[in-house]
Symmetry: C2
């Protein structure tokens, strides 16, 4: 009897998790490698940052998932894949070397600062739960200090928030800050005049939520203005040294805190014995069945994959739905070992973004929704997508609470502890 | 008309929060100063550490509390009080100087390492939510690494947990680790043999839960042994350099991770113009009305106060109930400005500790409970004491979930993010 082949999945996001469930564990030994021990939920990271949700409510440990129905039989190993050796057929993490017969890369994307070292060191980002927690702590710390500060100029510096990037994350983050100013500030920081808080959203193109419909562009603009967010279109950030954000036309925006959502780039993986073709944003070119171009047994799915088709000549959008659908298709193809693989066809289920309570936009095929209807649809869709019943319940309670009280609940500054000085297990070398 | 007097409360724990609510805001300007912007719940910190609860579920922002009924009208200011000037009647934080007419010190206690610098740098502690989160991350990281480690010796080093101190916190922490080994390990870390995990609890006196009844001593011992915890009595830690914990008799316990719950000391506050009398554990001596001995307008309540009475010749126990009752009494006395103050009388409502599911002990006056009854009583009492309905609900759901699934939900390693390098608001100087 032939031994089972080993499939290694790099990354447990939407794509990796779908594969984990769908791949036939009777045919394959399935191994998931991820640097985090949990599945996160990026669409709601901005709610962690704006005190609406706990990180634990939208995260789910892989090992817990592996006990359940479809995922049972697969394995999880902690580690960050830095190198792939296509000759020996191995992936290397900081801890170990793992053999694969087939490799699926679903490592997603990270922040792109376009090589600007000032940005790396000075801006806040939103690509992980811990980055979101940093934003939460910083915003709250600024509010507390502003409540103590008597000098108006200094207070305005503390309370100048600039979000760069008018995609869904940027719009949602700016909206959440706008709601904080509107609902939290007057009731809890009565010593801070509302006018001292300045929230600016900068977008390089001519519209917010560029991938969505005309109506969504207009509505999101209107909602943000209602919440007092200054929107600057058709300009991009040129320089930032910690207080003044200089745009391409030389204009300056006071930005004590700058949140960067304007660029993502595929996670970098070094290959030995093979050179993948990289497209825009360092995405790996794949064929219509998600096989990496030029390779036999390496696949890429989700945000990191670049699949150009007739309908999507510039590659598919980097959305959860694409990642999930590609993974479904790839799992089906791999499970039917002796049948010709089916090419991937993306079914656009629509896109949505929320700006604040009763303020959202949704494009679902030809239906363009906005306002409360879109907001309820947005909540329903996201609630259903969160992994785990306990998490769903926890998120639901937080949302109901926030809706009834016009307030978010998780406004605690919990900074990492200083001691012990050594991260003991982190410095441990495996034998 | 005479201006209102200002009462400054240092610390928003059980004592500070009670005062905040009970002091008459028509008589006094009440100002709470705390280095954290939220009220924590120390009795459940060990559940944060053992993945049972999110820090957000048992924390409550002061500003949210100040909007509600009794606390309304008081003020909160972020800051750590380092110095009190009794001549100028001011307290100094890192940010500002605040005038007081009456000062109430409710700053509580912190870890006591008895001057051992090795301990400061190497042990894990449980005196705050962020310390508890560090324990959670470390325990999980060790489990993940052990799952990758093939060498048995190395695995045993990773998985050797020693808890020092057999009070409630130590017993509860050791019990939670024991449950993790029993319920989580076999189902989620099948590559780790259960025998490789070693949990030891070291207590210097002859009994666990020293302050409780004989029955509680025996039962807690029995429960811990059922959960596979090695209990070492009548010995104390002499030396720890990161792996071997050496006890006073020279015996050595392998301790890859050491959790220290064996000592607390009152928070240190520098006085200018006045020298408070310090008792054991640096507690400030107070009279029977919680006035600091030798002072006119300075009070101390809760863990930081040392009140020796006939019934408690060595001071009152450092418990939440004492802090709350002292604060009630002090608030009553201060609210009746022209009546002689009433001395404090402690009503012991009982003490409890939980070791695991269906395993708890409770001494309520003459009734000594154990097992499931005590466990349910423990849960009820703690649930009722948590601040905020949303928090109560959130904790309840987590507990029900854990009970039904024999599993904890929050097993995510969420480490602090590295960037941005500057903590921008923290380095901000107020004008």
């Amino acid at each position: 009897m032939k031994e089972k082949q080993t499939i290694v999945i790099v990354g447990g996001g939407f794509a990796g998790l779908t594969l984990l469930r769908r791949l036939n564990k009777n045919l394959y030994d399935v191994v998931l490698v991820d640097k985090n021990n949990f599945h996160g939920f990026p669409p709601l990271f901005y709610q962690i940052a704006s005190c609406g949700l706990d990180a634990g409510s939208i995260s789910f440990p892989f090992r817990r998932e592996l006990r359940k129905g479809r995922a049972r039989g697969a394995n999880y190993r902690l580690g960050e894949v830095k190198k792939v050796d296509t000759v020996k057929q191995t992936v290397e993490t900081q801890y170990e070397t793992i053999h694969y017969d087939k490799l699926i890369i679903a490592a997603g994307t990270t922040n792109n600062f376009f090589g600007n070292p000032d940005l790396v060191e000075r801006v806040f980002t939103l690509k992980s739960a811990s980055e979101a927690l940093r934003i939460r702590d910083e915003v709250l710390q600024r509010l507390e200090l502003a409540a103590l500060e008597h000098d108006e100029e200094a207070r305005k510096k503390l309370l100048s928030f600039t979000v760069i990037g008018g995609g869904a994350t940027g719009v949602e983050m700016a909206g959440a800050l706008g709601e904080m100013r509107r609902y939290i500030l007057p009731r809890e920081y009565s010593s801070i005049p509302q006018k001292d808080v300045c929230i600016t959203l900068v977008e390089g193109t001519g519209a917010l939520l560029g991938a969505m419909s005309e109506k969504a562009h207009e509505k999101s603009m209107q909602y943000l203005e209602e919440l007092g967010v200054n929107v600057v279109l058709k300009h991009f950030l040129k320089n930032y040294e910690g207080m003044d954000a200089t745009l391409d036309d030389g204009s300056v925006i006071l930005s004590g805190m700058l949140i960067w959502t304007a660029g993502i780039t595929a996670q970098k993986i070094c290959f030995n014995g093979f050179t993948p073709q990289l497209a825009k944003g360092n995405r790996m070119e794949v064929d219509e069945c998600n096989r990496v171009v030029g390779s036999e047994n390496i696949y890429a799915v989700g945000d990191i994959a670049y699949m150009a088709t007739k309908t999507y000549p510039n590659g598919h959008p980097q959305l959860a739905q694409v990642a999930i659908q590609q993974s479904h298709n790839l799992a089906k193809n791999l499970n039917k070992q002796f049948v010709a693989p089916k090419p991937f066809v993306y079914k656009d289920k629509g896109t949505m973004a929320t700006i604040g309570r009763n303020r959202a936009v949704a494009d679902i095929k030809n239906i363009k929704l906005s306002g409360r209807v879109a907001w309820l649809a947005w909540m329903f869709v996201h609630l259903m997508s969160i992994l785990g019943m306990r998490n769903k319940l926890s998120v639901l309670i937080n949302w109901i609470w926030a809706y009834c009280t016009y307030s978010t609940s998780l406004r605690e500054i919990i900074r990492p502890n200083r001691y012990p000085l050594r991260h003991t297990a982190l410095s441990f070398k495996l034998k």
